[in-house]
Symmetry: C2
Subunit: 249 residues, 2 copies
């Protein structure tokens, strides 16, 4: 098999959500990530160098295309392509709406692919199995998100839902959110289970989401009251919150 | 003033460290960031839309160039340019080598500009005034780093130094680092002051740096022992560590 113009066009089209949804596939790149995903997800097409293919079991892959570094660079979305690019079939998250016995995240319009992928990766670290995202949150299959998850996307269920509707259905579950006018999280009671809402990078949590929040938390800066950055990066804030929930549970 | 070809070429050249070092300047973009920096740093050139200029005090700026959105896009390093691009003079970090009465970060080859900027931003949040970086750590004046700091770069001193030499000079200070084979950080004694070393995204802390580390910490995953992501993003790990140091001090 060679990397025909049509195949190249197909791969490049997967940068756009429209085409990813149409084909039900997505791109993952790099020696390590591709190797991690191959046993877990059905691979439609593997574009890789001879040295990668020499050490990889490709028996379950629909189409295997050996390329040199220049050809790989043409297909790649990375600045520094690394040996392999896989087109994988998307994995549908199992539908889960009842979350009362677990800690879950709800993302209200996270835009940056790097933040999104980093949040999925840290959710996996902290044993968070479900993330509920508003429809305008970055797509888990965006190539930049996929790379930033470092493979965690196979271990965390990502649900794109109507967030207000989801929170309304879980009214008996504690809902946490971080706010600059919230209360010091180290001095607040927190439950081991519940929903932690994280908001958009620029605008935070939407008013229509905020009304479902039962406890507003503040991540204290140091020293208290000192003038500092006005906020933390959203992935960083998510990490600090998740670490604290798990430390106390 | 108009945006001449020469000025455009000058601005675009500042994407490269070589030219930033030669001219001693760097680029910051966006309405909010430029407004935050204007009172703090000497501005050499401001390229901005009429609406931005109408509400901004430009009296101390060497050169003010009014542009429309298309012209701004030609100069900008952002995907979505926003009203203003400033060329500012770099601010030299004051030389500090004795760090015994403070908490500082040491970065051992952090590569990703987004991670670097995010770390500076969270250091500011946690009142960390000095960050010591190996010479191969991402440049603080890289446009992507500048944007990710969200202005924190004026409040944190960033030192590029020989890391082994720096750690050798601070042998009486506790030096912490995160390792997958470290000890649960919640069960370890930690001092309010000390040096926290964070390593490169792919390779972690170098062996020649590791030998100076007096306490290896592990950020516990959850549930303990469960198979999860192999590691956390470095900015996320830095955040969790800094939060814990500050919580306990």
């Amino acid at each position: 098999m060679s990397l025909s113009k049509n195949r190249l066009k197909y791969i490049r089209s997967l940068k756009e959500k429209k085409y990813r949804s149409e084909y039900g596939t997505f791109v993952a790149e790099g020696n390590k990530l591709v190797c991690d995903l191959l046993p877990l997800l059905k691979c439609q097409m593997l574009v890789a160098t001879a040295s990668f293919l020499a050490t990889t079991d490709t028996s379950n892959i629909d189409e295997v295309i050996e390329v040199n570094d220049n050809q790989l660079a043409q297909a790649s979305f990375l600045q520094n392509p690394q040996q392999a690019l896989g087109v994988f079939f998307q994995q549908r998250a199992e539908s889960t709406e009842d979350v009362k016995d677990q800690l879950v995240l709800a993302l209200d319009g996270i835009q940056d692919p790097g933040n999104m992928g980093t949040i999925v990766r840290l959710a996996d670290w902290y044993g968070i199995k479900n993330i509920f995202c508003s429809h305008d949150t970055a797509d888990i299959y965006n190539p930049k998100v996929v790379q930033a998850t470092m493979g965690a996307l196979t271990r965390v269920n990502i649900h794109y839902i109507d967030l207000a509707d989801f929170l309304n259905k879980n009214k008996n579950t504690p809902v946490y959110g971080t706010f600059l006018d919230g209360k010091n999280m180290y001095e607040q009671e927190i439950t081991p289970h519940g929903i932690v809402v994280m908001g958009n990078e620029g605008n935070g949590i939407r008013p229509e989401t905020e009304k479902f929040i039962t406890k507003k938390l503040y991540i204290p800066n140091y020293p208290a009251g000192q003038e500092t950055s006005e906020s933390l990066n959203v992935a960083v804030a998510t990490a600090i919150i998740c670490a604290e929930f798990r430390r106390r549970s």
